[in-house]
Amino acid sequence: MNKTVLAAIIVVIAMLGFTYVAVGSAGGMGGEGDWVNKLAVLGAVVLVIITAFVVTKYVRQMQNDTAGGKLADENWDGIGEYKNELPFGWAVIFLGAIIWAIWYFLAGYPVNAYSQIGEYNEEVAAHDAKFEAQFANMDDATLNAMGESVFIVQCAPCHGLQADGMGGKAADLHQRLAEKSVKHVVMNGSSNNLLGTSMPMPDRNGLMNTNTNALITDAEIDAVAKYVAGGLKGTEGASVFAGACAACHGADGKGMEMVAPNIAQMSPSMVDMVLHHGKKGAIGQMPAFTNLTAVQYKALDAYVASLSKK
């Protein structure tokens, strides 16, 4: 085997090793790692080494040995055939492999009674045991950090890594409500289960402004939408809010249990409702999430609620 081949093998192994370390550490898999990863990298390394070793063996024979043996009687288009014996190592390993396969199939596999779903259940149980105990009682910082970790995988595809809604494709989570969302809700009502019950908000035809004792007008809707989206600050729209909305959402907009949700701030309970029921509004539709664990919901609730406070 010449030096180039050797160098190439070393380079390949080094690259694989580097991959393993780089991905392994970034993945926070800690010291023990994932044995499937180890096995795969090992397989790749073994593959290079065995091929190189065996090929070198035959290249040596091409270089140093001579051909020979008894020729068969036939000859096809000038091609002869030696009656050489089987290469010993090959024959033995082939036989061994066949015996192993038969044994494995008749005894090795049935006796172990492998089931991939059984293996999955064990994997999940072990995982849960490890993390549930560890994160049973989290402080706020840990809770937020965990929430962020879930957010990046589950929510960022819609809300963006910055949680800014990516130019209006989903809700900007740094603010409670966008102006167009408020307007849309007042015009059309809303029934997103934000209170955990199917109590809808009436549309404009159900909304009286008690200041004027008339149905809410287009101009008033514009004003109140600005006011709510602005975090209920300022004076413009304040009176409309007091007249038409405060009855349910409270004078401060922080909502009332079983009556109307908080529309001044993002609260953990409100986020939790969105996660469990999804949400459909002016921006678009968000699906409900059914696949998260209790801890993950809690962490997300805390993390998202913390975003709007910043």
């Binding site: 293996e119 999955y120 999940v124 589950q154 494709k169 678009g284 699906p287 999430f289 059914t290």
Partner: protein, 230 residues
């Protein structure tokens, strides 16, 4: 014996055939009865969903996307419950794929919605920065082939007793029925009704206009299909 065979091509061919046919008989046949029984909650595709499935196949989405969630924690965390054989009972052909250049889509209907798909199919990188998925802009212009989807529904109902127009048990104990139209005109009309519901959640004006004018753009059918993947 081998020398004998090597001088007799006919018997040689027979011997080869026997040796290679053996495995198929043992490996494939036993599973046939088992694997195609639907699990509770599995429904046949509606006309529009099936037309969308054809759009998916036409554009070889399966070149990049799998529809098979393996029983590993890392996959069920990302995509949802691992796949069950019976969930594929009405999939002809199966669309498991063999490469995940993009994520698995077996249950994408659970965690993506119509408007997201609309934005994404138009320009994936605008929704997912760094995406290498092509933009499928022509789906917004081409018209879906509802007739062929209906023809396929009729075919599978006749040939494989796919239960259209029958009450099917759902996971929550309720019953559901997937209706199949009697005529191709009725099928077109029912597909259009489905399309209207989807188009209502979309923003592209051309698509909305087309549906209003009685046509079903490919994207609408595709979204119906993607939403049905649960």
């Amino acid at each position: 014996m081998f020398h004998w065979l090597e001088k007799r091509p006919f018997f040689f061919a027979v011997a080869v055939f026997v040796v290679i046919a053996f495995a198929g008989l043992i490996e494939i046949l036993p599973n046939f009865a088992q694997a195609s029984r639907p699990v509770i909650g599995t429904k046949p595709y509606t006309t529009l969903e099936l037309a969308g499935r054809h759009v998916y196949i036409k554009n070889s989405c399966n070149a990049c996307h799998s529809q098979l969630i393996r029983p590993f924690k890392s996959e069920t965390d990302r995509y949802g419950h691992y796949s069950l054989s019976g969930e594929y009972a009405y999939d002809r052909p199966f669309l498991w794929g063999s490469k995940r250049t993009g994520p698995d889509l077996m249950r994408v209907g659970n965690y993506r919605t119509t408007d997201w798909h609309e934005n994404h199919m138009k320009d994936p990188a605008a929704v997912v920065p760094g995406s290498i998925m092509p933009a499928y802009t022509w789906l917004f212009k081409n018209t879906a082939d509802i007739d062929t989807a209906y023809a396929e529904q009729l075919t599978v109902m006749k040939a494989f007793a796919v239960p259209y127009n029958k009450e099917l048990p759902m996971a929550d104990g309720s019953k559901a029925t997937v209706a199949l139209a009697d005529t191709v005109e009725a099928a077109r009309a029912s597909a259009l009704e489905e399309a209207k519901v989807i188009a209502a959640d979309m923003k592209d004006q051309d698509v909305k206009d087309a549906v209003a004018a009685g046509q079903v753009p490919e994207i609408v059918a595709l979204v119906a299909y993607l939403n049905s993947l649960k």
